[in-house]
């Protein structure tokens, strides 16, 4: 029974709360990634599930068992640490066999299980080698194997790829994904790397300052960010966010303005919102001529161009407004620093947030409906 349930879980050190009223259910066999910047409480959450940290309030359930007060050894969880935490004085074999030996299993059974796991993780040739003489990838696999060998009901990973170099990281990431596909162990995975989160997760939990900001599939997190934090944190670079006076002049529907909004996006703004935040992802900005139904059109004063070969990132300012803007553009287009270019994003790609709470204002949903209506009207014509 590998379901994990956190019920109103909080953790405070002294007077400082690091995790606040967390509610999360991870279904059996699911791969959930806790994603957030350093110090957001994601590792603490993982450690509370493992039993390495006490819970200040709330309940931790694994399966149908309340493990809030249970010692780590009784929870049947396997954990992989950021630095692998391999026992340096033991061979790979002894590292893998540690948990089984601690449980005093018969030697033959231990040898059989170690061999199985070593075969699965391609570690047969290095079983007699100590961690010091293993490569980064091999250490990683020994740590994985040690956590897997006891067949835990929950698998916890705390930034397991962050000590690997970039190439190896990609490789091991794929291995982790296929391992999970084969074994179907409930997995909680902590990372600050959104790439890992997006590629590995069935669901992503975005955390900040000890709170869950959004839970959703990678697509939901990317396409429907719940607030400005998620919008900016997900994506590389993150979403452009510009705050405007909701009823002021800079946010205009007039063609001559430097920021031109589609009228439908401004129509149903709640009157309580004096200030709103408009968000557009850099990769959704295009030169205005190429956008059929622009939700927003912006005069961009180019300041700096970063070329990546496959694409380029154009940094600049909104002419006349001063907000900074980043646009991801095809590599073949030319952008001269100092020039002003008109860029735009499709109406479905423009997000509106409350400036006060940072929460998404769902005017866009209505805009989308309108957009579809317009489309249909065009189609009929």
């Amino acid at each position: 029974m590998g379901e994990v349930r956190l019920e109103d879980v909080s953790k405070a050190y002294g007077g400082q709360t690091v995790v606040e009223n967390l509610h999360l259910t991870v279904a059996e066999g699911e791969f959930v990634v806790l994603l957030g910047p350093s110090g957001c409480g994601k590792s603490t959450t993982l450690r509370m599930i493992a039993g390495l940290e006490t819970v200040s309030s709330g309940r931790v359930m694994i399966g149908e068992t309340d493990v809030t007060l249970a010692s780590p050894s009784l929870r049947n969880v396997g954990m992989v640490f950021q630095n692998y935490a391999l026992f340096p004085h033991m061979s790979a074999f002894d590292n893998l066999a540690f948990g089984l030996k601690a449980k005093r299993l018969p030697k033959a059974q231990i040898a059989r299980r170690v061999t199985e796991v070593a075969q699965m993780l391609e570690l047969e040739d290095v079983l007699r080698v100590r961690p010091k003489n293993l490569s980064g990838g091999q250490r990683q696999r020994v740590a994985l194997g040690r956590a897997l060998i006891r067949k835990p009901s929950v698998f916890l990973m705390d930034e397991p790829l962050s000590n690997l170099d970039a190439n190896l990281r990609d490789h091991v990431r794929m291995e982790l994904a296929s391992l999970h596909r084969n074994l179907k162990i409930t997995t909680l995975y902590v990372t600050h790397d959104q790439g890992e989160a997006m590629t590995l997760a069935d669901r992503v939990v975005v955390m900040s300052a000890g709170r869950i900001r959004q839970i959703g599939t990678p697509e939901e997190i990317y396409n429907e960010p719940a607030d400005t934090f998620v919008a900016h944190f997900i994506g590389s670079p993150g979403m452009n966010l510009w705050s405007f006076d909701a009823h002021g002049e800079s946010l205009s529907t007039a063609e001559s303005s430097s920021v031109v909004m589609h009228p439908s996006l401004l129509q149903d703004l709640p009157t309580s919102e004096a200030e709103i935040v408009i968000g557009v992802r850099p990769e959704h900005l295009e030169l205005a001529d190429f956008v059929e139904t622009p939700g927003i059109r912006l005069a961009m004063e180019v300041e700096l161009v970063e070329r990546f070969g496959s694409h380029q990132l154009v940094h600049g300012k909104l002419a006349g407004v001063g907000h900074s803007i980043v646009a991801r553009m095809p590599a073949e287009l030319k952008f001269e620093p100092g020039s002003v270019r008109i860029v735009a994003a499709d109406i479905g790609r423009v997000y509106v947030f409350s400036a006060g709470s940072g929460e998404r204002l769902h005017v866009q949903a209505r805009a989308n409906e309108m957009y579809r209506a317009v489309d249909e009207a065009w189609g009929k014509r």
């Binding site: 039993g51 396997g78 954990m79 935490a85 004085h89 540690f98 948990g99």
Partner: protein
């Protein structure tokens, strides 16, 4: 220090056409080395005057007949060493020293480690510093002063030690006046006085055992005793070796507490009936009570060779049980 500075200069300096040319004599290099030696000289001079010179002189006079007040010296070869071997008291002093060491080392290591393990849990707590200070305090108090306190504690009539024994319905002991109990009494004092240092060393060693390893072990279902045996002890082995070597050296050289507690009434040689006469104490008595400096020098040399060989043996044996990360 000067060496590394010199090599750094040689590598980066482009003025020198050939990198193979030694450039230590160049004015800038020379002044750098000179200033390094000038800065080091106070320590070097003190070290030479009070360590190397006496040690060298000691080796020298151990082969001579030499008196502190007479200028006449006479080369006697190995006669001092032959005299020593013929002396039953010298052999006995070595046995006493060995007994002292054999009891003290395991007691020191086990107790210090046990206290460090207990303190490890509390040092991070609120009054952790106070606990550490309490354990370390005996070590920084003068050994003569604390030994006098222990003489009172072991006083057969009104001492605390016998009060405790009486409380436990055990027979009172003569402690420092008893041939059998004088050395154990000195051991208790030595242990109490030295333990703090070893506890602090073990605490430092324990702090170096990564927390994650202990966490992994507990997640893997290992019990505390298993974690202690399989994780903590092996990772602590370099510290343990250090403590074993240090306590061996300190125990073989122990003098002040033995002299203070049992030396005075027994002509400075430890007693009763030479019960606490260790090698160090006999050396003192031979030199400063009986004025046989050459003989005492030979004893010191033998003591030095014993400690050196014990240390080398420990180092050699340690290859099998010490794990260096």
């Amino acid at each position: 220090m000067s060496l590394s500075l010199r090599s750094r200069r040689t590598n980066v300096d482009n003025e020198q056409p050939s990198p193979t040319t030694r450039s230590w004599w160049r004015p800038s290099q020379f002044s750098e080395s000179l200033s390094a030696y000038v800065l080091l000289s106070p320590a070097l001079i003190i070290f030479f005057l009070f360590f190397f010179l006496p040690a060298g002189f000691l080796i020298y006079i151990s082969f001579f007949h030499w008196g502190i007040l007479s200028s006449a010296t006479q080369f006697v070869g190995l006669r001092n060493f032959r005299t020593l071997i013929a002396q039953p008291l010298f052999l006995r002093s070595i046995i006493t020293s060995a007994y002292f060491t054999v009891v003290m080392i395991p007691a020191t290591v086990l107790l210090a480690l046990a206290i460090a393990m207990l303190l490890r849990e509390v040092v991070t707590a609120r009054r952790g510093g106070a606990w550490r200070a309490a354990v370390f305090l005996p070590h920084v108090t003068p050994v003569v002063a604390t030994s006098i306190i222990w003489v009172w504690i072991f006083n057969p009539q009104f001492g605390l030690a016998n009060a405790v024994l009486r409380f436990l319905h055990l027979p009172a002991l003569n402690w420092l006046e008893s041939v059998h109990w004088a050395l154990p009494a000195v051991m208790i004092d030595t242990l109490w006085h030295s333990l703090g240092l070893y506890v602090i060393i073990f605490l430092a060693g324990l702090a170096n055992v990564p927390r994650e390893l202990l966490e992994v072990a507990s997640l893997e279902g290992a019990k505390r005793s298993y974690i202690f045996r399989r994780i903590i002890l092996p990772l602590l082995s370099p510290t343990t070796l250090f403590v074993v070597i240090l306590s061996t050296v300190n125990t073989w050289q122990a003098f002040s507490q033995i002299y203070t507690m049992t030396g005075g009434p027994h002509g400075g040689a430890g007693g009763p009936a030479f019960a606490t006469t260790t090698d160090a104490l006999l050396t003192y008595q031979t030199a400063f009570i009986y004025d046989h400096f050459s003989l005492a020098a030979a004893m010191s040399l033998v003591l030095f060779l014993i400690i050196l060989s014990l240390t080398l043996i420990q180092k050699w044996v340690s290859n099998r049980w010490v794990f260096y990360r």
